[in-house]
Symmetry: D2
Subunit: 349 residues, 4 copies
């Protein structure tokens, strides 16, 4: 048996970090070598997360300096806020690590787009070699890179939902609406009044309408696929559940198509991609059906005159929308089978 | 003090019926004279709903024959399934009762539209005198009628959200999308696997995409307001909460408008209507804020070029979307103040 | 019509304060004269709580100095943390106000008991005139006092559940166990990781086992009723719901009794108390049935040999467990009917 | 590599059956050979449970006759109601299968006890060879049997929580109280009004107080361990969550012990048992921490005078409380490592 790859998770006490740890500890090709957390240095992971007692008792590193981490691990997952990520990633690369970054810092090909929605970029020289880690679109580039910008949760849901239409030139410009609904873990593991139980339970609301930073990420990929600018009207909502995103995606077609036509288009587009599942006619995705799984479940409906399509797209925001996709990218970067460590069946009820 | 109006609730053991009873028992202008239920004849209401022990101990009628009910009550609320409703309402009218019908049977001005989406209508002669009971559009007609077709929950949310735009001719034909999310009480008080706790909790899904019977109701009213046919692409979703509907409504404008323009349009349209509340700029509706209240809370966003509007519309599906609106109609029919019995503040957290 | 009593709510932006405002704004005998909040001075109440837009638009006071408040209001509800409360209440009393205090500061007759569980008391001279505001036990004293120590939520549930047994001398010493389960609003309206949605949803846990400060409050009242020290083993738990407490109370009886005997004992004890409801045999309380209502719902079960009793006791922690009970006390202090402003039926589903 | 064991799941469309399938499909030592369901014969498993599309597409057997099942599988898991189970199990045994029965039919050593709480037993001759499948108590017997009576969910929680005390003779007779709280999946996958979303959400209630059939199961095992009859006062409650049981277990000690003493007792008792985890002092179990894991998490508290102990015991009712424990028993019966196929980390948030 070959040696296992030693990996580190930077920011392992957030929800995406926790999910990474949960997946990586059972991944047959790697070993958790270091975990860091700003809040809990020196404390055992399982003291903060008793769910993993006896499974991950490794303490959070006392000294999270990149040199220390890089001495222990050859692959680093950065699950820290944007800006923090780009502050440390160049150092990890210099030290010879490969990096999967779960922040927004390396998702944009056009640095000015990043800077318009976020802040000045402090490592713009790395952008040309960065790969947007949506394997269903960029699998080969991911295999060859040392730095993956792991996609946002909403963009994963929306781009996978519309990619076949974009590539086929069927998306009418200015017609795309992405009405998305996310569980509360999308807001992170934080002490915030707005996501306290009583402020979320038994309620439903939109937020950041027309202002959410995931918009340009969707537009970047869909425009690239379409070969022409695609605008997305994106509305995120908060659902009183822990995990999951459902995107209800609307677009006018540039030419009429039947539901059958589009199903065939999608089937071909996603052939060979193990994590995209197309629902049979009459069946619709539920976020429960992808909970804890790395799947993106899709269904299609076309209106009577074949002019407007509705795509339903469901992912688990922490799995395919974050940590699972990061592991998928890791597998590709390491030459492992793409599904390695991601075979667990979704968790229900 | 004048005598209280005696009222009956037919189908008082469903959620809409329960909400009617909850509201009417505290309504200063009426008295609960009869309650019926197919399942619990003869049993005290508070035995089925211990929440109302000591408040409503009246038993469900042993004999729910219209003659018996009409002998006891002068106004009848029918909270029974469509088809059942139109089977009994003509008799109540003949017996001199006024009727607020919460089913779909008397919501359509065009009987063929009803028959296309539902089944043959058995009392089509009543349709001309029926009023669609959305007081914000038809207040004066409601005052004068003896038969109100109380609107559906989703249509209430969507029509109130778009009415000012429709009337102003600003809705671009074929552009309207109503992405709506409802709590589980919308499915009624039923033993169904699909709405059992474990099948709803911590999940989110769309259902009846492009097939929901509330679509023609929305189109009827918006087209009437616009003076031209308006199509609505309507997608309902199930939220893991008990009550509430949020509609995220998208439309292209026939002419560019600023958010301020539209806010002013809405303000004028709803002036004098006590149950529609327009959120200030920067604030968005939450279904929690209307829970148990008869309000429809609205907010507007317009995209950069003033071409697409997003309206957020929140109601409680059992209150403004059913029983509360029925009481509002009752108030108008009786000459009571429109808000009578509906003053309770929304219930949170 | 007589003038309405002017009231102030100090700490009106917490959940108990919010519930007070929700109840008082519809109370026919009073008028909200002043609201305060450390966090939101000067901002309209309805800006923080849009649910009450158009209902309570009064701004939080810019200057919450007692002299300012007392100039505006003759009754003050203090819904602030313990210690803070006793820092301001003497001043309100000096200024001629009556006070209903929702903190723990004036619940104990024995100052040393308070100081053992909390901290040094800064207004011990007021304790002799203070009344423990559980009207079912101390109605007459409440009528005559100017300072009510409004009971804690758990103690309300447990004391009402066991009072008839305690008074009848049926509680075996050292046998009382109060296994209580509360919704998350009991933790207050706070930004705390432990009560964020994802940390509460779909989970269940005990907390502060054998350490909760509500224990001595239960013991004080039950011992007073029994005329002998009663110990309570109290275990609080957190339920993934917003409101409600269910207490499952166990005790050995000093002499065997049938369920019928005990039902009769309870019936007599609570005769004339409008907010305690005894379930009929075969029926059990649900926190849903008291949601938003000021009720305490009780049921009894006795084991085969008549030696151990199980009492189920349900309240809404924010209503009968806090704000509703405060209004009930206010009614007694003002000479209003005890149920005034508290007639709304519980809110379900 | 040796051949995989072929297994069948009878009743695979209930929640326990679903959990069995979810676990067994990823179990390296077995292969799913047959699945049955009364409701869905002939339909693919993944059509009923789209969560497992591409993972378990096997159809439910058209013909679930034992001879057909036994021809395909050598181990049978029966996840059907009691009474149904004992009707088919003798036939499976005759056909040479080993059986893990998740019903109550083979959990009792004393047939009269079974018949008192359930109904006449139709296969009493099998009882002597049956093993109560709680491996922490009966590991060696499980290894040697062909028929395991898999424990109930509540009994698993309560027996594991109290076993060390019972065996050490520390449980005072008549003092044991098991106040247990379960998620809604404990009621099964059924269309029942009482477990519909709106009847469970945001509420909490006890049920079957002093009447639940899991009581004699707890008493059987604790009495056997204690060598003297142990009575349990058992109160089940319904929590608005999908999975999980927390038991809050109270007992008087026959002799005073410190928390440290008892921790040491528990530590020794469960040494070598991989699925029981003892929380460190100061930490308490949460059902979230065992969700989807086969663990039983325990914590202890002793009151000041060392006379009363409180044990907190948390399991996932579908995993350690049903399917996971069945797989654990299967592993022992097959000579596999006890943890095989059960290594997945608990699922949170």
């Amino acid at each position: 048996m070959v040696d296992k790859i030693k990996v580190a998770v930077i920011g392992a006490s957030g929800y995406a970090g926790l999910e990474l740890v949960r997946l990586l500890v059972r991944h047959p090709g790697c070993e958790l070598a270091a975990l860091t957390s700003l809040e809990y240095p020196g404390r055992p992971f399982s003291q903060i997360f008793p769910a993993l007692a006896g499974i991950v008792d490794l303490p959070f590193s006392q000294d999270p300096a990149p040199a220390k981490i890089a001495a222990a691990a050859s692959v680093v997952f950065t699950a820290v806020p944007h800006q923090t990520a780009m502050g440390m990633i160049p150092r990890f690369l210099d030290l010879g690590c490969k990096v999967v970054d779960l922040s927004a810092d390396f998702r944009f090909r056009d640095v000015s787009l990043y800077e318009k929605w976020y802040q000045p970029h402090t490592a713009p020289d790395l952008i040309p070699e960065t790969v947007y880690g949506l394997p269903e679109l960029h699998r080969e580039e991911v295999r060859r890179t040392r730095l993956v910008g792991n996609p946002g949760c909403y963009p994963t849901c929306v781009i996978l939902g519309l990619a076949p239409l974009a590539q086929a030139g069927l998306l009418s410009p200015h017609s795309v609406i992405a009405d998305c609904k996310s569980g509360a873990s999308g807001a992170g593991r934080q002490a915030l009044l707005g996501i306290s139980f009583c402020e979320v339970n038994d309620g439903f609301r939109a937020y950041k309408v027309l202002e959410h930073r995931h918009t340009p990420e969707m537009e970047q990929e869909l425009s690239w696929l379409a070969g022409t600018p695609v605008n997305v009207t994106f509305t995120p909502h908060l659902v009183p559940m822990s995990r999951g995103i459902l995107g209800t995606l609307y677009a006018n077609l540039t030419a009429p198509r039947s539901e059958g036509d589009l199903r065939e288009l999608y089937r071909k587009f996603y052939q060979g991609h193990p994590f995209v599942r197309l629902h049979p006619p009459g069946s619709l995705p539920d976020t429960r059906d992808v909970r804890g799984g790395n799947f993106c479940d899709l269904a299609l409906r076309v209106d009577r005159d074949g002019r407007r399509v509705i795509v339903l797209s469901a992912i688990d925001n922490l799995t395919k929308g974050a940590a699972g996709q990061a592991v998928q990218n890791f597998n590709l970067m390491m030459g492992f089978p793409e599904t390695m460590g991601l075979e667990t069946a979704p968790f229900l009820p």
